[in-house]
Point group: C2
């Protein structure tokens, strides 16, 4: 696998995983173009690409404006498609916004890819959320699709668009269904980006870390560098045996264990607390989730290299050095981070109010 | 089960199944309101409701304009949600149009239902197309979701919206996943409405009936009155044990057998022919499909009452008596039936050209 000299397009490349991927691609010698709309609430942060600012081209555009991205698409050897909204909670508050970002825009982008880069390899960042509350653990690729929020429904639709165009020979797509990813460059000052973002923000601000319910629900967090490995392998594999891969971390931990480890490693004043489930969160809670990653291990030779303990330490080190780029301790949720976001889906205009 | 005096709202009620359902509801004593946008290509035909024109209120509006339907929604005791585009071929030609009609409009409609008729029973017309090419036969409700066209993806999204709002207690929805339905009031002069519409049109015009490939693919067509039975049962059941039901016909027949029976029963000049698969149709062909209807049989006491032979005769009798309302023999596909249909999804405007 070599990306040296390859032209890589990364959508959502100012975001958490996208920026880590873009930085690694640049280090591997790829010529990287990032497309990012910086929609408030989706985690874009220009500082994320600071280490490679001189080497990477950044196009400030929504992938929905696909017509105006055609030159960039046409010249790509490989496309990493990470643009999207990940928040389950946002999707329940603003379903039409989630549809626009995760389904409509993806359809428009893929249509452009099909017409000006026919057959191009594209790796899409899917999500475990399409599986909803697991019927069994660990969750493999055959697990039924049963999303429990709009985010899961629309990420599933986008997954299916990728598969459809691959079946017809118009694109050559792979979809990685990622479990909870954490690490440097995760957005900390955007609400509702998942429990890991919340836990890290709270210890960095010296606040207590609350876990809903009993805290016994399992998760298998994956360090961002390991997720990036999976993208690089998926972008390079010739004649892939499969198109869908579940990608999980090195082991299962309960939410209480995760919270305790973060609090202990941070070593500050934060305490770990159990707190009752707010009803609107309970409604979209999925219980325990762990990933069966055996397909990607066997077929792409991938494995997670970073224990949660090590990844956690690397993450805290990063944020301690760069905190002011990720959090304003005096105003951790500045209003400007989730302003009124007007948009149009179909015939109606929506105006989510945060 | 009694619909006497009940207020029933039927979306897509000028269409094939919707009009048959509305007529039966009126016969059962329900007070029926039909909402239909008459989008070209979706099969609406005002003549369908001629037998009950004096008893039924027809609102000419798109369900996407949900804000303006709130009075009708709020006063409904039960909602039968059949508005949509069924054509797999149209969906591949105009994916954004399919998304608008089958996903965006449904989201907007359900949002209105949730806010002004919280907890209302709603029965949605799903489709077997969400299962794609079956992995096993007959197909039960546990079969994996793997749509092979945009229509299947968007009908799945709408199914998931119904389930999501049911899980949260906002709606009380059931989804019927119908196999190929046929019978009186099916659109014959709209292209690409499925093989049964095509076969009936051709014998009624004295044209030969062509079957793609070997003709050995199985289907289990269901007569529209039997499908209507399923809707009525689903609309009335208290505390349903399930939310998703697969609904199939009384038996499996090959496409060649179906074509032969239609040609023979029609008794005209038409012949039955095998012809090679056009590549664009082969790409979205799903092979054989038969339904496992045992869940709806066991839980709702439903069963199909009409053999294909009997349903076929009833269908031909209807069209022979009413042909001029369904086909112009001199111009069976008049241009006005699929004119330029402009629309907007997200930020782009599409102009499908038929």
């Amino acid at each position: 696998m070599s990306y040296k000299g390859k032209r890589a397009l990364v959508t959502g490349g100012l975001g958490f995983i996208g920026s880590n991927l873009a930085i690694r691609l640049a280090a591997e010698g790829a010529r990287v173009t990032v497309v990012d709309s910086s929609i408030p609430g989706c985690g874009a942060n220009p500082f994320n690409l600071a280490p490679v600012a001189a080497e990477i081209k950044v196009v400030a555009r929504d992938i929905a404006e696909a017509e105006r991205l055609k030159d960039h698409i046409a010249s790509a050897d490989v496309i990493f498609n990470l643009a999207g909204e990940i928040s389950h909670v946002h999707s329940m508050q603003f379903p039409e916004r989630d549809m626009q970002i995760n389904a409509v825009a993806q359809m428009q982008f893929l249509d452009a890819c099909k017409s000006c880069a026919r057959g191009v390899r594209i790796v899409y960042a899917g999500t475990r959320q399409v599986f909803g509350a697991p019927r069994y653990l660990p969750v493999d690729e055959e697990h039924p699709i049963q999303p429990v929020d709009f985010n899961g429904i629309h990420k599933y639709a986008a997954t299916a668009y990728h598969m459809l165009y691959t079946q017809s020979g118009d694109l050559d797509a792979l979809v990685l269904r990622l479990t909870n990813v954490y690490g440097p460059r995760m957005a900390l000052d955007v609400p509702c980006q998942g429990f890991l973002s919340t836990f890290f923000r709270r210890v960095l601000l010296g606040q207590d870390v609350e876990v809903f319910g009993t805290g016994s629900q399992l998760r298998d967090p994956i360090f961002v560098d390991d997720a990036v490995d999976a993208f690089l392998l998926a972008g390079a594999v010739e004649k892939p045996r499969s198109r869908l891969y579940n990608v999980g971390g090195p082991g299962a931990l309960s939410l209480a264990e995760i919270a305790r480890m973060i609090v202990d490693t941070a070593g500050g004043d934060s305490k770990f607390l159990l707190t009752p489930f707010p009803p609107e969160r309970k409604a979209i809670d999925i219980g325990s989730y762990t990933t069966d990653s055996s397909r990607i291990r066997a077929e792409l030779g991938w494995k997670p290299r970073t224990s949660f303990r090590d990844g956690l330490a690397l993450t805290l080190d990063y944020y301690r050095a760069q905190l002011r780029h990720y959090l304003d301790p005096d105003n951790p949720f500045p209003e400007c981070r989730m302003p009124e976001h007007k948009g149009t889906v179909g015939r109606l205009t929506y105006t989510p109010v945060w």
